[in-house]
Amino acid sequence: MALAVNDLKVWYRTLRGDVKALDGVTFEVADGEIMGIAGESGCGKTTLGKALIRLDTRMQHVGGTVVLDETELPLSDDGAMRRHRYREVSLIPQYAMSAMNPTRKIGRMIRDLLAAHNVRYTDVLPELERRLELVGLDAEVLKRYPIELSGGMKQRVVLVLSTLLNPSLLIGDEVTSALDVSSQKAVARALVEFRDHGFVKSMIVITHDISVLFQVADTILVMYAGHLAEKAPAKTIINQPLHPYTKMLIGALPKVGDRYEEQQLEGIEGRPPSLLEPPAGCRFRDRCPLAHDKCAEAPPFKEVAEGHHVACWAVS
């Protein structure tokens, strides 16, 4: 087991009070697993991704633990966390297009970053060039400035750069969101390839685009309003979802063969609750067709079948 997250709580401090963006999540990611995180915006996906590598100044680690390869990560201690970053946990950010310093040649920037981790650039250069080739880039990009590359090229450079020191865990936040479909496919394929080559042990892929997860992920974790709703193998989530929220989320995807002149594509009524003062009990209650009295109490995230966890009273 590469990653074990136990009852993790990360809140945002605001003037109006704490926003409980991540309110007690517990899950595991196995060695070699690519886990997708899905959910609508504001559900806590990005907060979870950030919490595992670098809390920003407004985020506060309120409780819970994160254990990676038998070592607990010191989430709230930025200085101590620095030793784990890049070598053990790495990140492909949401903003890969602007992730590189515009005034440094890419090779020079990588050299500076490696030097900060006491790694000699010349030692890793052959491997770096090999991996660039693997994602279809010429080693010549190292002599270029970021502005000279296309968006898809930058995304791939960031992928190679982020995984250069073979981290145990890679967090990909909206990796494919800014790309056109053909680049999306190339990047999705590259992610799986990197796992297969052992460049990265496990991966967490965060996206709002479930169809991308279906191509990439082994398992999918569905989040709702700072809580976990369901986790199961990707096929199960798509074909036999149990949680009503997952069902509605999948139901809101267009399908090949359906004719939408005849039937309307369904969305989910209502909006997620405010996380400033979230309601007690199941947070999906107000939008849920199956809601009943029991839902006033928070449902446990229970394993209902092998590798299939659900947090819903109606199911378990």
Partner: protein, 331 residues
């Protein structure tokens, strides 16, 4: 790069022509007749003598010709390095008078510009990382940068010159000394240099520090800084990148500021009776000396154009993005 240089040279060339034309035109539109003034200075009463003196001076200065011919003559003389004869310091050639004053102006301006830029940027960058320094540097920076040049100059002259008596308050060197190559003269020159330099330096300093502080804070919030931090890069590396990138807008700012700083230098010189171009401009206006005024302003214009040109080139060297724009990109 060559195309870029050619384009820039053309633009600066055109600016130069317009500047020279205005420079020639403006004194001629000023009220007052310098020839009359010179004649009056001779204090002769005889009308015939006055007439012949007027005629002599007008011919000497080329003022008897039609305007368009005066204009062409001006250009022709300019290329010979001949800026005419000073009316005020007759018969000294203007070029000589101006060249004598230029070292004084450059001597306070160049160190003031460069040092305030370097020191201001460093202070600003440090302020961005230390709350304590920020709380001191920001108000002080706003205070000194908002001061008019001559006001600060007067304060310094009063404080360090009159009240404390550390530095002389007027002149480029002691009035009792004759300019010569000696240590005592050099020391005296330096003492006279301190206050004019300081007032220019201080006013510019605050602006650079505030600008740099704001830019660094912005850069530290940028995506590349966040990405580097997530990959465990130390703060030192991130700050180094941020500082370098924040300097680019500062360099543009320097180009824009040059004119203002020069104006400030001229005013400062007047306050300290420093024998540079500023004082020359004032004397030329007071004595209605067309030619001296033209010559001085011409040097000022050339100075600003050359400095801007240098900054344009420096900018291309430090920002790769402008460079790719020049070559049409290769992506």
């Amino acid at each position: 790069m060559r195309g870029y240089l050619a384009r820039k040279t053309l633009v600066y060339g055109l600016t130069f022509v317009v500047a020279v034309t205005l420079n020639w035109l403006i004194p001629r539109l000023m009220p007052g007749d310098p020839v009359q003034r010179m004649v009056a200075r001779a204090a002769v009463q005889h009308p015939e003598t006055i007439a012949s003196m007027t005629e002599y001076y007008e011919r000497t200065f080329g003022l008897d010709l039609p305007l368009w011919q005066q204009y062409l003559n001006y250009w022709a003389a300019l290329f010979r390095g001949d800026l005419g004869t000073s009316v005020w310091l007759f018969p000294a050639p203007v070029s000589q008078v101006v060249l004598d004053a230029v070292p004084y102006t450059l001597g306070i301006m160049i160190p003031a510009i460069l040092l305030s830029f370097v020191v201001g940027n460093s202070v600003g960058a440090m302020a961005a990382r230390s709350r304590w320094l920020d709380n001191v540097a920001l108000p002080v920076g706003y205070l000194i940068t908002a001061m008019p040049y001559m006001w600060l100059a007067i304060l310094l002259a009063w404080g360090f010159g009159v009240a404390l008596g550390w530095f002389p308050v007027a002149g480029g060197y002691d009035f009792g000394l004759v300019p010569q190559w000696s240590w005592s003269f050099a020391l005296d020159l330096l003492q006279h240099w301190v206050l004019p330099f300081l007032s220019l330096f201080l006013v510019s300093l605050g602006g650079w520090a505030i600008g740099m502080r704001n830019l660094i804070i912005y850069e530290l919030e940028s995506d590349y800084a966040n990405y580097l931090a997530a990959l465990g890069a130390p703060k030192r590396l991130i700050r180094q990148y941020a500082f370098r990138n924040a300097q680019l807008p500062q360099i543009t700012g320097l180009a824009l500021q040059l004119g203002t700083i020069l104006g400030g230098a001229l005013v400062t010189e007047i306050v300290f009776a420093y024998p540079g171009l500023g004082k020359l401009v004032l004397s030329a206006i007071q004595n209605q000396d067309f030619f001296l005024l033209q010559g001085t302003l011409l040097f000022v214009v050339i100075g600003v154009l050359v400095a801007n040109f240098v900054i344009d080139i420096v900018y291309v060297l430090v920002d790769p993005r402008t460079r790719t724009g020049l070559t049409g990109g290769t992506a």
